[in-house]
Amino acid sequence: MIAEKIRHKDIDDEKLQRLVEAALFIADKPLSVQLLKRDFLIEYRVSNLRIRDIIIAIQAHYKGRGVELNKVATGYRFQTPKELSDDLAHLYQEKAPKYSRAILETLALIAYKQPITRGEIEDIRGVAVSSQIIKTLTERNWIKTVGHKEVPGRPVLYASTQEFLDYFSLTSLDQLPALMPMAELTD
């Protein structure tokens, strides 16, 4: 649609830093280096490495301030630091969504055991998984279907999404808390 413009203009570090900082602040989602280049720096000739250096410089600059620049799964975003949670949270407590154990357990199973079918989730939890739970998780964009399991009935397989990681401020599934070790059953 938009004709690909040639990246021809040079940009100095100071201007680049201002622009990247502004872009990260106004974007309504985390921005990756690719997105920054595509959406905000299309006119400039600038390497990924340089953008990464600029991001590191911005991160350093915001250390100890009111917001910090964090890397999450889909990119970088400015958010308030942990240390301020208590002071800020009271205003938003009522708005913060709470999730039932059923939802959290289903989500945990999908996150840790993906890809997984609804039947497998029910098997481990020992109770039926309501459609409402799957709907809520899908609507929040935390889970997605990734295919079908080749067993009778070809049940849908679920996996977690990048947005799920973003929501919990994680960059990858590795960062999820480790599962507790299971004691070995000896006979």
Partner: protein, 287 residues
Amino acid sequence: MSDPKAKLSTTSTQSKSPTSGVMLQQVLPFALLRGEAMVEKPQDLFIPPDALEVILEMFEGPLDLLLYLIRKQKFDILDLPISPITTQYMTYVDLMKDIKLELAAEYLVMAAILAEIKSRLLLPKQAVDEEEGDPRAELVRKLQEYEVIKKAAENLDELPRIDRDSFIANVDLADNFVAPVINSQVDLAELVTALQGIIKRTQAFEHHHIQKESLSTRERMAKILATLKDAQSTNSYCDFSDLFSIKEGRQGVVVTFLAILELIKESLIECVQAKVYGEIHVCLPKQ
């Protein structure tokens, strides 16, 4: 199994169950509810009576309830004492039924499983097939597996969350910001289609001579008008001869001449000759 109506409330508890009236006044409702008939009572049920319903509702299913019983009684999950666990489990299930909590079928299936394990454990050792091993093994594995996920869900709940523990910065654009508009695209065929649409719709159009040949004249007419407009804005005028360009050749001269004639015919321009045989000035009509 959760029933949204069955929430923690004194009145609902009272109205729901004939036994709960008793429970409300007692410190140890569980024991009184079951009376002397109860052989074993849960050690941990020092619960305000009106909270009982909510607590029972809190279990995510039979595995969750079993785990709760095991942990509270500090039983060894790997050496599960089936008999006392089964008794306690049944006590809770009966209690859920008593206060008319919507009981998921899974609870009854688990009751059957427990009873079956219990009966197999009572069989003489030799009668048990060596291959089968410990009849509790499958249940223990399930309990462990569930406990891992239960803990994982708790950990997940404690991770910093957006809008609860951390808030995303949002900044407005400058006041002078204007979103650029990408013009929509048109191709020549659309333009022609549009005109053909008009032709089809209106007879009147047929009286207008629109043909390829006349377009160069029409274009020239527009050009001449533009030139004269420029001249007018600088309070000067054009000489008739200025409108012609030798470079365009004979064809060009003819087109220009036709354009001027057409413009004069339509009273779009005026030609003024200041003196006989003098230069003809061309200008837009005076207001």
